[in-house]
Symmetry: C2
Subunit: 460 residues, 2 copies
């Protein structure tokens, strides 16, 4: 049976698929924060998925990696054939909380209201809708053609919004070994480049996050009694943080830029050809100017250049005290070939070097993820672009993203295979914010893309 | 009748006076914070004082300056004579809260427990005990001699711990005019130099307090999506604050030190002769080193040199955001002849000058007080030292303090007369902290000092 007929099946079934997605979005499977897991909704969402997979004819189970973690859904083809490549599809069924704040929502975040072609609800875009598109692609293929062009493994986790512990442990302890070789992983947890602009995301920035605390007197003390005779931790912290940048705002940590792989001419040309609405950025962000390294374009700065941001400052109180301690949280976005551990050490050393000898400085809360990068010449890139073209009827582009998804590099390393990032959401879908929404047109086109992609990969 | 016989009266009556003071301390007259004014205790403390003054034979009233302020107690001699100088005595009957934290108190903060010669209770030292010493001095004089050597005005406020609004307005609107000329004001709301070391405090540092907020994007935004293309308010704030100091930690705000009056040789000699336990400071503060301007002694740095402290830092959250704003609270301690308004403007200008053009920077929460200074050659200095010697049987010293008491310069300016700062508490009495206490020996010696001081002033 031709891919075309299966795509027609998708078009015919789309209203049923939308109804089923709405049912998935109605489950308040919040994994973190004050309102987490209302009424056992995590288990409910996990059961919903297992039943879906079994109805499709796949094997499916809830894997309880540790007693304290949310179930990881592992589903896969019932029989594997050496003649078919195996594709891994990743997604998550847990969602962010809705108290951010709850009053900012215009509708019930779990009513799955549909307005102007958008499905409004927590998790609609991050990540239930895009994940569900792949399930519905399998549904369409199997009901129309009776068999899949590839062997499939789904890993759908319930902890993406709270640290991905279970899946991390599952992968690290060889959970995927029996499914190997895996030709590639497909993930729809990034964004499209813009409305009606499907894209394959070639890169994600890595991350280093660390918290630094500078200590002073035993407890907050009176600045009148002791001002002028002891170090003020706020000052020490400010001086050390200030030394992270030079006068032009460039990161002054020694060796920070050493390992940055220059952008290829090919990618530079690609990204410089993309339309960029700088005025739109300014308006959305509410800033009067966009800044950054002048020799790089806006997209290059967002996607391909490393950054260092002080995310958090805290010290003392708005009264006349010299505080006992001052704290900052810092994070870097990293690009190929920067090493998170090396960068973290360089930052720690630089901060220490800019404090007086004997200052008590402690680091905590560190976490890391290396950057992810897919070569645009990789043999799976063209098939993916073909699939996006079939799914959307629009010429797709190659892009990158500035954010980080730690599990992507974990999966890539473990499988030794590329991760194809085909996002279906928009940057304007309000992930983690109020009134999160997902375009049902893109849900439809996403299912079509998944159908086409599995066929493309099956015939590589 | 000789001063000596009146002092004997004090000695004879001291246990009654202590009992009465305990009654005053038992009233939980908290003026600020979560636990303020439990069960109308502010009114109760005000009534307690009015009754005390009337029992002494003075005129006394509760002045309700505005509907929202706590009553100001104004008490005075029933008849004024041109032959007697008029002395103003200031104190406060309101106390700090006890939830700092409540669990840190070893006893009920309002049980007025006596242990090892210390009266333990909130407000015992700040400022009920020292204020009450002056009332008991009047009691002893009137009961032993029948008349006062001076005419007296008492201003006892109920808002010292929450901004001194009522008394400020009372003084500014001419409340003291009918009592003028006033030869001097006596205040016991400072500390002794140390145990068994009575002192006349010649100076208090002034203060400038201001809050600065630097604004960035409309709301906190994702550092992965937007890192590298917009200013981070945490960075801007850190850079601007860092520019407040030079490499040696000296304040780099232009003109900051311009008006600082050099310390006289006389005071320098006085303060360098005082015993200083640097190791004790280090231990109490929990720091490994004492720092500051190397050409000044520790006491000179604490008392006679201006400072700038960043008291508070706040920006963003310990997640990967670029925050919408970052905030700092700063305060300076000022010395003669620095002008708070001029210093505040210089700080504002300096911060602005160290931010990129177009940055939104706003200042708020400012308050000021000029430094207070009494010339050691002022004719009332020797009489005050004589009184301390009579009261304590110990040679008193001249000192300064590093803190600020805004009402002191308000009173000085309005009366055109010096303020004699004769503290009775110790720096170790835990003002504003748990287990506040007051030495009953110093209460006794303080009453004696007040008796002697009124006689000294009466015979100037």
């Amino acid at each position: 049976m031709s891919t075309q007929s299966i795509l027609h099946r998708v078009d015919a079934e789309i209203s049923t698929y939308i109804e089923q997605l709405a049912g998935f979005v109605r489950i308040p499977s919040i994994s973190a924060g004050a309102d987490q897991d209302a009424a056992g909704a995590i288990a409910q969402a996990a059961d919903f998925l297992v039943e879906e997979f079994i109805r499709l004819g796949l094997s499916a189970e809830k894997v309880q990696v540790t007693a304290a973690t949310n179930p990881l859904i592992v589903a896969h083809s019932t029989a594997f054939s050496a003649a078919r490549p195996t594709v891994l599809i990743y997604g998550h069924y847990d969602v962010q909380g809705v108290d951010n704040p709850r009053s900012a929502w215009d509708v019930d975040p779990f009513a799955a209201v549909i307005e102007d072609g958008m499905l409004i609800g927590r998790g609609a875009s991050d990540n239930k809708g895009p994940t569900f598109a792949h399930l519905k692609a399998v549904d369409a293929i199997l009901s129309a053609a009776g068999e899949l062009p590839v062997d499939l493994v789904f890993l759908i986790e319930g902890e993406e919004e709270c640290g991905s512990k279970a899946i991390g442990q599952y992968i690290a302890s060889g959970g995927l070994d029996s499914f190997k070789p895996i030709i590639c992983t497909v993930i729809s947890d990034t964004s499209m480049y813009g409305p009606d602009q499907p894209s394959l995301t070639l890169g994600l920035r890595g991350i280093v996050f660390t918290e630094a605390t500078v200590y002073g007197p035993r407890q907050d003390v009176h600045s009148g009694l002791f001002g002028g005779i002891i170090h003020n931790p706020n000052h020490l912290l400010v001086q050390a943080l200030s030394a992270l940048f030079d006068e032009d705002g460039r990161i002054a940590v020694p060796a920070f830029y050493d390992d940055v792989r220059p952008l290829s001419e090919r990618e530079q040309t690609l990204y410089r050809s993309l339309p960029v609405d700088e005025d739109g950025y300014r308006k959305t962000l509410g800033v009067t100017e966009l800044i950054g390294e002048p020799q790089y374009s806006l997209l290059e700065r967002r996607w391909t250049r490393p950054t260092l941001d002080v995310n958090f400052l805290s010290g003392g109180s708005p009264r006349t005290v010299i505080p006992a301690q001052a704290q900052a949280a810092l994070s870097c976005r990293l690009v190929p070939d920067q090493d998170p551990g090396r960068i973290e050490a360089a930052i720690h050393d630089h901060l220490s070097a800019h404090l007086p000898a004997g200052t008590r400085l402690e680091f905590s809360g560190a976490h890391h993820a290396p950057p992810y990068y897919l070569d645009p010449d990789h043999p799976l890139v063209q098939p993916t672009l073909n699939a996006l073209r079939s799914g959307f009827d629009i010429d797709p582009i190659l892009s990158r993203e500035g954010g980080s998804i730690p599990i992507v590099t974990d999966i890539e390393k473990n499988t030794g295979a590329p991760v194809l990032l085909v996002g279906l959401g928009q940057i304007t879908d309000n992930w983690h914010g109020p009134n999160e929404c997902f375009s049902l047109k893109d849900f439809h086109r996403g299912i079509r893309t998944s159908v086409a992609l599995l066929h493309e990969i099956g015939s590589v």
